[in-house]
Symmetry: C2
Subunit: 335 residues, 2 copies
């Protein structure tokens, strides 16, 4: 083929918020495939907060991206050529071929997408990693009970918007914290949250939480960290649970932030806090997928996609997402 | 009776560390008992860190002591008179009659002590609240597995000294943090901890932990808070657990202390942190008691009592305990 493979590589480890110059656009030839491999053409690329951690020099829970390497990322792709008898040309698959127009994968890194279920892009959102993150992080880690109050931060994002809706499915009061009035209106009016506040305009988080959570907070689904989290802690009920999914307010700090020590409250309120990654539940992925797809079909879950066109715009799509300019799942439409 | 009832009352809410003038010694007549009540003569009074929280004006997990009220506390007493057919004069009982020479109790607040098991004072230590705190806090909250490393702070105290020994019973590596060389020697040489360090002379807690916990820390039994805890957090392993029992370094602060934000590590290491009170396990008390008594009988658990003579010395015994001048369980011998 004469066509080239467009790729976005990491040019520098970001200091603070990533900037355009931390990325570089490159090209390579479209690779040949070997035994058991397939060639995938990227249709959609997912950009997610966790990628910021992979760009650091310091060790995270997974290997970091090195300078000059292609940025990592989950993708929805079409099979263009296949040396694996389980996959045919034209299949639409979920893979992790990263920020490039074409990628090579083996069966173990690929999953066929059931196109009857929902649009294929949902394999990167509600029926993919963000959906399973919300599902297992809320239900298995947070363990909300009917009638309890669930608070979620980054509530209009890919994960948060689902956390509140799953809480509603389970008979809980769902309260969101988000960064614009538009987001607040979206999650309350369209998604059915019981309440929400805009942390960028609110002057007293505790008062907002008191207003929106008159019976206190039983489960906090933590996406952000920092002063928002400090305020939620003051409103936690006895036997409250904190499901720690993300810390987006902290990812771009150049110096670690100090905060109030929180352990005293763990004793007096018998709190339980647990961190998780969606991969911890990979053996239960099918269970989560079936249940989320069922709720989606029944109209009990809604989702929005925030799609940026063109792989060359992936860096801006990613940087903007870290700054909260998306509502719902941010995707890059590549192919 | 002509004898009077000596009582120690709270004279003032302490600011920072309690001082003698926060207590006052009083007398009252020895009360008569009504229907279903018994008169108890205090033999031993337990002084424990949790009492500091009860002296505050601010709300804790239990009602606070008011100015002029008798200080609360668990006791071992002898039944002097009884209007309850289940209790006879001469019985030795566990009760919560507080800092006084005589107290009145009903059956629901009293438990007969099996004198065949161990000296009766152990009902306030290894076979009482501190023992059950160590047992359930380590085994049910911390959930150590054979071969794992357990670190405990305030390791020569009533609870900490048992935590490390229970960890050894369960086949774990036990490492203690304590406040004097004498304490370090005691828990290593006498109690069989695998290692310990003196946080008052150590200059680099992380280096000490690295030396003593070459495979990292799987379970941290948290009694102290502050910079010791910060150091332990840096050494926690994947899927580490933090059992939050106490925060003695924080109880006497006049202003809340700031510290590093810890939630990021919860995600990357999938940590689980849970606070507890021994009362959460009251329905399993018998199970804990039987197992601890068995290990004691087998010589697998040792204990030391640090006994101060005379109820009038209870304030100093308590203040000194908060400053760590005890090794093992601090008790006041009253009767």
């Amino acid at each position: 083929m004469a066509e080239m493979n467009l790729q976005i590589r990491m040019a520098a480890h970001p200091v603070g918020f990533p900037k355009s110059s931390d990325f570089e656009i490159g090209e390579s030839s479209i690779p040949d495939i070997g035994e058991g491999e397939m060639l995938l053409k990227t249709l959609y690329l997912s950009v997610d907060p966790y990628m910021r951690g992979r760009m650091n020099t310091r060790k995270s829970y997974a290997a970091g991206v090195q300078i000059g390497e292609i940025m990592i990322g989950r993708t929805v792709s079409e099979v263009i050529a296949s040396n694996d008898s389980d996959f045919a040309v034209g299949d639409i698959v979920w893979s992790s071929t990263g920020w490039q127009a074409y990628g090579v994968a083996q069966a173990k890194g690929v999953r066929k997408i059931d196109q009857a279920l929902a649009p294929v892009s949902t394999a990167l959102g509600i029926l993919g990693m963000p959906g399973m993150t919300a599902y297992f992080g809320l239900l298995s880690v947070g363990q909300p009970k009917e009638g309890e109050t669930v608070v979620v931060s980054a509530a209009a994002g890919a994960v948060g918007s689902l956390v509140g809706q799953i809480a509603k499915v389970k008979g809980c009061r769902a309260v969101g914290i988000a960064g614009s009035d538009e987001k607040v209106n979206y999650i309350v009016d369209e998604l059915g949250f019981d309440g929400a506040f805009n942390y960028k305009t609110a002057t007293d988080y505790k008062a907002e939480l008191q207003r929106l959570c008159p019976d206190g907070v039983d489960v906090y689904f933590e996406n952000v960290g920092g002063t928002i989290t400090d305020a939620v802690f003051t409103r936690l009920n006895m036997y409250g649970r904190i499901s720690v999914c993300g810390q987006i307010s902290q990812y771009n700090l150049t110096e670690p932030e100090m905060g109030p020590r929180i352990m005293g409250g763990f004793i007096s309120k018998r709190l339980r806090m647990q961190g998780f990654l969606v991969g911890d539940f990979s053996d239960r992925h099918e269970e989560g997928l079936v249940e989320m797809a069922g709720w989606l079909k029944e109209g009990r879950l809604k989702y929005r996609e925030d799609i940026v066109e063109g792989l060359v715009n992936a860096p801006e799509a990613f940087i903007g997402m870290l700054q909260g300019d998306n509502i719902g799942k941010r995707l890059v439409k590549v192919g």
